[in-house]
């Protein structure tokens, strides 16, 4: 069973926050693998007889992501990288990923995280299924294969559902799916020697890509503002607890 796992390298600043002095995003140049995408890899590896290809679209530095993925039972490690793709919005990103999947060919299942911690649009998974005209299921926390049918248990804040679908299909996972276990020593050794495939637009042959081809564009940005309040200080834990209880009963009877 051929599975593609789409993974994204995201800047750590997506999780670090805003510097209260400068009002700018804290950037330390570090990157991490989007947490939901790690869950997607975990789900892929949970299936028996899985031939897993990890695909990432990004700059050269995304090779770090592939090196991490290489420590797991992954057959194929692909970086899709081309200046022509820079500035892609979710529509253009999906176009490139679709072309990549078709170029590599033969996938029964495509797994991805439901959203990335930087952009957080959550659009690539469903857009991909629509562009490829194959079924989709969101927020998978577990998957089970039965012949050519996949049973997906989907769970999010709104509820849960179990869906049965013939392959091929696209499935997105959220943070409710199992975490990726740390790699084995053997895996780490393997990763150190791993080789990657790099695909560019020479292979994909897409026109009207990147920023220019993106239907949406960012007009401007601003950092989140914080509205200050004047606070009453309490220094005793017991009194603090009493205040909290008083506030609680105020809400109940208010």
């Amino acid at each position: 069973m051929k599975i593609a796992v789409l993974m994204k390298q995201v800047p750590a600043s997506a999780t670090l926050g805003v510097d209260p002095e400068t009002g700018n995003l804290i950037r330390n140049g570090e990157t991490l693998i989007n947490p939901a995408d790690e869950r997607a890899l975990s789900l892929a590896l949970s299936l028996a007889n899985a031939q897993v290809s990890v695909i990432t679209m990004g700059p050269e530095s995304a090779k770090d992501l592939l090196r991490t993925a290489a420590a797991y039972k992954v057959q194929d490690l692909v970086l899709v990288c081309d200046r022509a793709f820079a500035g892609s919005d979710s529509f253009q990103t999906t176009r490139v990923l679709k072309a990549t999947l078709e170029h590599l060919g033969g996938f029964d299942l495509i797994l991805c995280g439901n959203r990335a911690v930087d952009g957080e649009t959550g659009q690539v998974g469903p857009e991909l299924s629509a562009m490829m005209d194959i079924p989709f299921c969101e927020d998978a926390v577990s998957i089970a294969l039965d012949g050519e049918t996949l049973t997906v248990k989907s769970q999010n804040t709104e509820g849960e559902k179990t869906v049965c679908c013939p392959l091929p299909m696209v499935v997105s996972t959220n943070l409710g799916a199992p975490i990726l276990n740390p790699p084995s020593i053997l895996g780490l050794r393997r990763a150190a020697k791993a080789e990657f495939r790099v695909l560019t637009n020479e292979e994909l042959q897409l026109d009207n890509t990147g920023l220019n081809g993106s239907p949406t564009r960012v007009a401007r940005t601003r950092t989140a503002q914080v509205v200050k309040r004047k606070s009453e200080k309490v220094i005793d834990a017991k009194i603090g607890a009493e205040r909290i209880l008083a506030f609680l009963s105020e809400v109940e009877h208010g």
Binding site: P35, P126, D133, E160, P215, S231, I235, F247
Partner: protein, 318 residues
């Protein structure tokens, strides 16, 4: 006639968050000189729903009648796109529930247009829809345009706009029989009856300053008081609390009367999620923690001690 369309939820034409979105859309439509309409996909459209949508400004209601069971497997969006392609919508808006975010993305792909997710602000600028949304965990707000592709599509964070005033009028209903052939089969579905944290009146939130034991005690205190358990992103990542307790995710705003943070430092993206709580109380040993600037009461003490006192007062086993 150029239109601004607001989508209702699947099989649920009467929903407060859609009315809130519709209220704001009414203003946008006026400013952009567009007719305001609604789109509803489902098996039944009761008269009350038509009346209600009309009273918030809907002039035309496109009823895509279908007996489809699943909204997000892709078949429904494909069928809907076929209908949308024949209309001249300039703007299409959704209230961003999980389902509608997925459906909107599928629809946008079929219509080959741009989509902006989880908007916290929408306005008209030079005739275009200016779509503002949080990114980078709520630390950054980006304003986005879709200048050349139509329709301009956006999903909007639910309840970000207030429900407006009612008006007279009755929408014209245009019905389409839509056959959705879906290879996906729904085996079971359960809506979450647990109150969403966004609806909670009281949230007791744990942060990185708490350990497993503290969280367990906090959960007990929540059970005893009817408060909703909250957690910071860090705490959820360390599996100290379930994901549904996380505050500060993409504009998920609390509208609580009372928020108490135990061992919460107050990182900007967390604050973005709880800053609208009426009363904010923080318990932290670090009086320089960012949360100290935005709370109403700062309890400079160890969260463990405060939790212990709370438990004792509520006669809970520690």
């Amino acid at each position: 006639m150029a239109e601004l369309l607001v989508f209702c939820h699947f099989n649920a034409p009467q929903a407060q968050d859609v009315l809130a979105l519709l209220s704001h859309a009414r203003n946008l439509a006026k400013e952009a000189d567009l007719t305001l309409g609604c789109v509803y996909m489902g098996s039944e459209l009761p008269a009350e729903a038509i009346a209600e949508l009309s009273s918030y400004g809907c002039e035309k209601l496109y009823f895509l009648k279908t007996d489809a069971a699943i909204y997000t497997s892709g078949a429904a969006a494909k069928a809907c796109a076929d209908v949308m392609k024949n209309l001249s919508a300039q703007i299409i808006l959704f209230s961003a529930t999980n389902e509608d975010r997925v459906f909107a993305a599928q629809l946008a792909a079929h219509l080959e247009t741009g989509l902006t997710a989880d908007c916290s602000e929408l306005s008209i600028e030079n005739g275009l829809l200016l779509q503002t949304r949080p990114a980078f965990g709520g630390n950054l707000f980006a304003s986005i345009l879709c200048p050349n592709h139509r329709p301009q599509m956006a999903t909007v964070h639910p309840y970000i706009f207030p429900i407006g005033e009612k008006q007279d009028g009755m929408a014209e209903v245009v019905e389409y029989e839509v056959n959705v052939s879906d290879c996906a089969v729904l085996l079971s579905a359960n809506a979450n009856t647990q109150k969403s944290i966004s609806d909670a009146k009281v949230v007791l939130c744990g942060g990185a300053g708490l350990d497993q034991e503290d969280f367990a005690l906090l959960a007990k205190i929540c059970d005893a008081t009817g408060a909703h358990l909250g957690a910071t992103r860090v705490a959820v990542n360390e599996t100290l609390a379930p994901y549904r307790c996380q505050i500060g995710q993409t504009g998920a705003g609390l509208r609580a009367d009372l928020y108490v943070g135990f061992g919460v430092s107050g990182a900007v993206q967390h604050v973005a999620g709880m800053k609208n709580a009426k009363r904010i109380v923080a318990v932290n040993t670090d009086k320089k923690a960012p949360i100290a600037d935005i709370c109403d009461v700062f309890i400079h003490a160890d969260a463990k001690d405060v939790l212990s006192h709370l438990a004792a007062s509520l006669s809970l086993a520690n």
